[in-house]
Symmetry: C2
Subunit: 299 residues, 2 copies
């Protein structure tokens, strides 16, 4: 098997640089009042993330022939939503995390109230970024805003997934419930990111369905490998405390199914993602490589 | 002077009923999973608010000839943003309020984590509501989403106003800073609501400027009368603990200027709101009455 990690790594590096410089334009500067709020937003926004969701918007858009200019703002909007969710997730009343990517979390650095506001501001800025995108017609912008809202919201998006995850802490979670949590909490936004790239590129309805299948499996792959990583990795590899999920009795794949069955599930979901891509008549190598890359993380 | 309170009260009652039944359609039901999240959203959404911002969207829209059908979803979106801001404002790390309109606040009833998620979900739902509005062309929907985002966000919207307000708790606040807090924290969303109604009605650029001036003064009027109410009202009139602002050393108009100067400021701002309306060639009685109504609250 050819290892595609080199190419994908280069793709992530180049999209990350594009996205970071656009985000720098879109987000108020640290010297603009109220400075503490804007410092907090930038602290979390520029914390060394891979920009996975923006890369997925761009990769899917390129598959359908969209230009970087057409894709960049939407890519940034997805990263803003992702970052707001991390800020709120880390809060004391949620996951109570003090470190993220090896640095103090937003509320540890700036206080809880400012962290809540920083997340709130980022969510709004994400929708503003799409609504005011000068590169796209209004018809496309409203579709993208709806995709983003549904992927991030409730009843079948990121926020409902987080609410299900909260409920799971006080209830017994079976395999079905766990998969539902994963599909919404991580999957819905990843799915919306891929769909948005395809929409910008003008994908037709059957192509959109194929991309939705691909991205649904990609999101699942992402979360399951993340669960596995939490069990098998060391602190320095993760930038956070490994084993935290197990200690806080969070529902995870390895906890319910065991490590071997989790690896088998990863292979099956990976294959399903690849199968979905076969149903488009486009060159989807980059999307295949991204799925591969997500799997390799766990090695 | 004719007291317009009767007419305006009837207008608020009728728009409230329209808005509440539309909100009931737009928000996931309490039996839909995850139920705790949706119960929390509905607990705060249907807590007996006046629906002031929706009424303002509808009133301004009617002045410019828009229909209720064209205005209703946007009106609901503004109430969703307002409600999310109340839920997050009440949190222990923010204002730490246990009662709102005489009932336990969202985090007291459902826990802090669920309250944070309920607010987050409502913000997203607001943008979704506008993005998917079947009554308006896409060109108008993107303008409305941008208005909502700027009014609710940073650097010159509701969230930045709240961040300035937080900063004010640990700093001395002069009259200028206080006005800036008020303009952003309450004014920006009220201003965006009025502008949105005018945009849906097809107001031209000079009319939009006049409406912006009117609503900027209306927002200021709203916040200053609210400050005054906090000093002069009793608990049963307010549904919350009066004098709380003073005890927590929040910056308020009466605290900085005294009660008499605050009443004079109310008159001046009220007059400025009326003057702005004169600059449109429309019948603006309802908007004049709304300003009157805001003043009368403090009597």
């Amino acid at each position: 098997m050819v290892n595609p990690a080199g190419d994908v790594a280069a793709f992530f590096v180049s999209t990350r640089s594009l996205v970071d410089s656009e985000l720098d334009q879109l987000i108020p500067s640290e010297t603009q009042e109220p400075v503490r709020l804007h410092q907090a937003i930038r602290w979390s926004m520029f914390a060394g993330g891979k920009r996975f969701r923006p890369a997925l918007v761009i990769a899917t858009g390129e598959v359908f022939g969209a230009s970087h200019e057409q894709l960049l703002r939407t890519a940034c909007a997805f990263e803003m939503i992702h970052t707001y969710s991390l800020i709120h997730d880390d809060l004391p009343s949620m996951d109570d995390d003090e470190l993220r990517r090896g640095r103090p979390t937003c509320h540890v650095k700036f206080g809880e109230a400012t962290a809540i506001l920083a997340g709130d501001a980022l969510q709004g800025l994400a929708f503003q970024t799409i609504a005011e995108d000068p590169q796209l017609p209004a018809e496309i912008r409203v579709r993208l805003a709806a995709e983003l809202a549904r992927g991030a919201g409730t009843p079948a998006g990121m926020v409902s997934g987080q609410a299900r995850d909260l409920d799971a802490e006080s209830n017994t979670v079976d395999a079905h419930v766990l998969e539902q949590i994963h599909l919404e909490k991580t999957g819905a936004l990843i799915c919306a990111a891929a769909r948005s790239g395809a929409i910008i590129g003008g994908a037709n309805e059957s192509e959109l369905i194929a991309i939705t299948d691909y991205a649904t499996n990609l999101g699942l792959l992402f979360q399951i490998t993340d669960d596995l990583l939490d069990v098998t990795a060391t602190a320095s590899e993760m930038g956070k405390t490994p084993g935290k999920d197990a200690r806080s009795s969070k529902a995870t794949y390895p906890a319910i199914h065991g490590i071997e069955a989790t690896r088998a599930k990863i292979d099956a979901v990976h294959a399903a993602a690849g199968d979905a891509l076969q149903r488009t008549d486009r060159r989807t190598d980059i999307l295949k490589s991204i799925a591969e890359f997500v799997c390799i993380r766990e090695a």
